[in-house]
């Protein structure tokens, strides 16, 4: 990680461990939680509430490397390959979700074009900021409630169970 949250809340619940990166103020909201977890062995982040991102080829130096980019705490995991796949329920996307998905895709495209460069150093762990606890229900990661799914890296042979179950419900 190369951007400092104020705290990292480690929540263990229903057999899953989720690390929530916490900032006290995010534009107009009193706080912001950005979750990171493993789903059936795949690294998973959330993007703008309704997007789920699976990182299948992260750069690992002891732990996967990640940053929060572009002022809106957009989680980006350093990847060995920047193949970007999108699965979405087109008919279910709201206009706002269409926009945020396009924004994220444009950020990936800028990375692919070499226009946007991620920081190359200054990585450190975050356990000194970690506390065990629970996050408010409305900020909790719900892997079965996404509107669009992005996979960065090779497509996995099998999607994590909850993700696949959500996909089955897409028209």
């Amino acid at each position: 990680m190369d951007r400092d949250p104020e705290r990292v809340i480690i929540e263990r619940r229903e057999g899953r461990e989720v690390h929530y990166f916490y900032w006290r103020a995010d534009l107009y909201k009193p706080f912001d939680y950005e979750p990171v977890t493993l789903l059936d062995g795949l690294l998973c982040t959330r993007y703008h509430w309704r997007g789920l991102v699976l990182w299948t080829d992260p750069v690992v130096k002891g732990k996967p490397l990640m940053t929060f980019a572009l002022g809106v705490h957009t989680p980006l995991v350093y990847s060995r390959s920047w193949l970007v796949w999108v699965v979405h329920c087109a008919r279910d996307l709201t206009l706002a979700e269409r926009f945020w998905l396009g924004f994220y895709l444009s950020v990936f495209n800028a990375l692919l074009q070499g226009v946007l460069r991620l920081p190359r150093g200054g990585f450190h762990g975050y356990m000194d900021k970690a506390v065990e606890g629970e996050v408010p229900e409305q900020y909790r990661l719900k892997p079965s409630e996404w509107s669009f799914l992005i996979v960065v890296g090779p497509l996995p042979e099998r999607l994590p169970r909850e993700v696949a179950e959500r996909l089955e419900k897409c028209a």
Partner: protein, 207 residues
């Protein structure tokens, strides 16, 4: 028409000129069609007027295209900055009805710039339009909430985050990044029986 830099005054001048040209073109087209009808009815003397009007139309349309090319993006970027600042100001003061109406006016100006400058034609055009429409919807909802005595700050915050994201997109585009939207995706396979999309090959080095 100079349209130098990206200043607000320059962009407003460009917008006025674009609007003037669009009006002229509209009026010329009406007259052109009228004269063509007269000519079809056998009034031979209308032929010179048809030629003259066609030449004028052509000149105006070329001028419009030229100004849109030179001034469209600067006008859009200046307008986005103004919109972001308006949203920041109204959010910091709690969102009065008069201020919210002013924000909607700024959104309306940007919509005109988008349309007149033909920004929908380039890459990411739909993304810009979607973002602007999302902002309009949030601000309208915020206005409705304020009129009923509620707190519009959450909705204004959402609008502001979209405006800032649009500015970040423009900064990337100014550096040469190609903006992409859902229309730039194509089906490349299936996972669990559902289509998987990727950016069209050639959109990026990673293809």
């Amino acid at each position: 028409m100079a349209c130098l830099g990206e200043g607000v005054e320059g962009s407003e001048g460009a917008l006025k000129e674009l609007e003037g040209l669009v009006k002229s073109i509209g009026a010329l087209r009406v007259e052109y069609e009228k004269v063509v009808r007269e000519q079809a009815l056998g009034e031979v003397q209308a032929l010179d007027r048809v030629r003259e009007l066609a030449a004028q139309l052509d000149r105006h349309e070329r001028a419009l295209e030229s100004i849109a090319l030179r001034c469209g993006l600067p006008a859009w970027r200046a307008g986005l900055s103004r919109l972001t600042e308006s949203l920041e100001a109204v959010l910091s003061r709690g969102g009065g009805v008069g201020e919210l109406l002013e924000v909607l006016r700024v959104v309306g100006e940007l919509e005109r710039v988008y349309e007149l400058a033909g920004l929908g034609r380039g890459g990411g055009g739909a993304l810009r339009a979607d973002g602007l429409l999302v902002i309009r919807e949030y601000v309208k909802e915020a206005l409705y909430r304020a009129l009923r005595g509620g707190d519009p700050s959450g909705l204004l915050g959402e609008a502001l985050s979209v405006a800032r994201a649009l500015r970040e997109l423009e900064a990337l585009a100014a550096e040469g990044a190609r903006l992409v939207g859902l229309e730039d995706l194509e089906v490349v396979g299936c996972v669990d029986g559902k289509p998987v999309y990727a950016l069209r090959r050639g959109d990026s080095p990673g293809g």
